[in-house]
Amino acid sequence: MWISVVLALTVLPAMFGLSLGFTDLYIKVLVKTLEWAALRIQRAQKVPAVPCHLPNGIIQKGDSSMEEEIVELRRMHPHPLTGGNFTLCDTFYFCKKGIESIVEDQVTQRFTSEELASWNLLTRTNNNFHYISMRVTIIWGLGVFIRYCILLPLRIILAATGLSWLVIGTTLVGILPNSNVKDRISDLLHITCYRICARGLSAKIHYHNKENHPKKGGICVANHTSPIDIVILANDGCYAMVGQVHGGLMGLIQRSMVRSCPHVWFERSEMKDRHAVAKRLRDHVADKTKQPILIFPEGTCINNTSVMMFKKGSFEIGKTIHPVAIKYDPQFGDAFWNSAKYSMVAYLLRMMTSWAIVCNVWYLPPMSQQDGEDAVNFANRVKSAIAHQGGLVDLSWDGGLKRGKVKESYKEAQQKMYSSMISGINLNGSWEVTVD
């Protein structure tokens, strides 16, 4: 009985895109509670208020380039520096940089969860925060109870409902003959089910610039943090998904989804052939009746503090790109999927026992490849736009480095730069170094 009431209260509004305001109220209460907790913690620790997260790490890094640093080091050298310069103190720079990388490097830190400035009352984010007071502990205990005993079962039921309706519904819709009506029913079904799933995560999503929403026949690219990105984006429109065919439950969902509207699923073997992949995507995009395809060019999940290299494949198809920036608020729940650490199921459970998923989605104006611009530069341009909008760090490191090795060419580039400092000075002789 109870369950049907709850379902009715969520499904009906989901179909019409309305909100009963429960989530908003919940979030408001949460924000007040977390602010109160933060204040108590600060008072107890006598630490000045840290207004924002430390997305850039735990050590202070200088901004100057290799050249600037080495010139400064050499300025302090006692001997006159005549041509062909290497000094023993040059190594200081490299040594310091090396030690900095050992303590913390730009790449590895992107594959672990972002650290919070102030504890958000979840045990999992408790880093360096000690016992503060009885009241904070009580609130924390209450939080545990609410999240695990009340919210978790509710969310599991909602998610299960959403997914099963998706599978059943799309299979049924697939029986209908192809027509406009079928497409519209399919769209409605998809959106409703994704909205139910979003409620199953207590997701509060704020969409900005809806006028830039991806159109049919376009390609939508977004930064990737977790599989939930799909639910987040699909709450506001229908996309054709692109991905590998999986087995098991995922495979079941994939097969039924494709019955009601076209998605692009690749077999593992097909993925190796880049031309075949590009052709299939091109064909799909060329058909104006099909939904825009959704691609995550990073190729792997990053922790939402930065955007890593975009693989150029999606930018070679030659159509308008609609960039989308997604930024999660880590205060309410960490959305990053660390696939090395957690399986999909463990990850979803963590999601469902967080406070909520709060995120902002910005639709950026469409971009196309300019004349004379190659795919790599185009990809970088789009990446910068997304990073800039979402307030993320723009990195050119390849997300694939999560598992792979750095190319020799990077090291050679650094060596070239340094060697030009040593020998280049010989050549132009215009290097002025004042000596004490």
Partner: protein, 186 residues
């Protein structure tokens, strides 16, 4: 970084380490998390391959910093060389010099060059470091001439090698405290 829940109690000999290196409890915890994160295969110690996996380090011409197997105390001791010099820490004349004193920082770099630990940087050792830093970018002759010039400048007693004192003398004016220090933000 990360949501691991290391507390000081889990770290063996944390108290001694803090005493020896001057790191605060929060720093030791973070370094321990980092140490565990680098030790991907959970061996309990770090080997050169683990450092090879650090992407930014792979680009660094100097990788000799870590050529041997490191356990956590050794790891912390190496990093302790780069702590900023504490101006406020009381100097007990009987206790050994702080790890992050100017002299010890210089010794650290000196040992990078002096591979065989004989107290002198020979021409060969200097060439070796130069080779690692520049690899294919300069010719062998250029490397040799650079090495010759460097030794000429620093070698005061004309024994064709750079002793620690000569090294220290040539670094007199360099602001070691600033150039060889890494500040932790929290």
């Amino acid at each position: 970084m990360g949501s691991t829940n290391s507390t000081l109690s889990k770290i063996p000999n944390a108290g001694d380490l803090m005493q020896e290196t001057g790191f605060s409890p929060a720093h030791i915890v973070r370094l321990y998390d980092r140490y565990k994160a680098l030790d991907k295969d959970k061996k309990g110690h770090l080997c050169p391959q683990d450092f090879g996996a650090i992407k930014e380090l792979a680009m660094n011409p100097i990788k000799q910093v870590c050529q041997e197997v490191l356990d956590f105390p050794s790891f912390v001791r190496i990093l302790a060389h780069f702590r900023p010099v504490d101006k406020n820490r009381p100097k007990d004349p009987n206790s050994p010099e702080h790890i992050n004193s100017r002299s010890n920082k210089l010794k650290f770099i000196f040992q990078l060059y002096d591979q065989d630990k004989d107290g002198k940087i020979s021409r060969q050792e200097l060439l070796q470091v130069l080779r690692t830093m520049l690899e294919k970018q300069v010719t062998e002759e250029q490397l040799e001439s650079i090495a010759d010039r460097t030794i000429q400048e620093a070698d005061l007693d004309r024994d064709d090698a750079i002793s620690f004192d000569e090294f220290r003398k040539s670094m007199e004016k360099v602001n070691i405290e600033h150039k060889m220090s890494i500040r932790f933000l929290r």
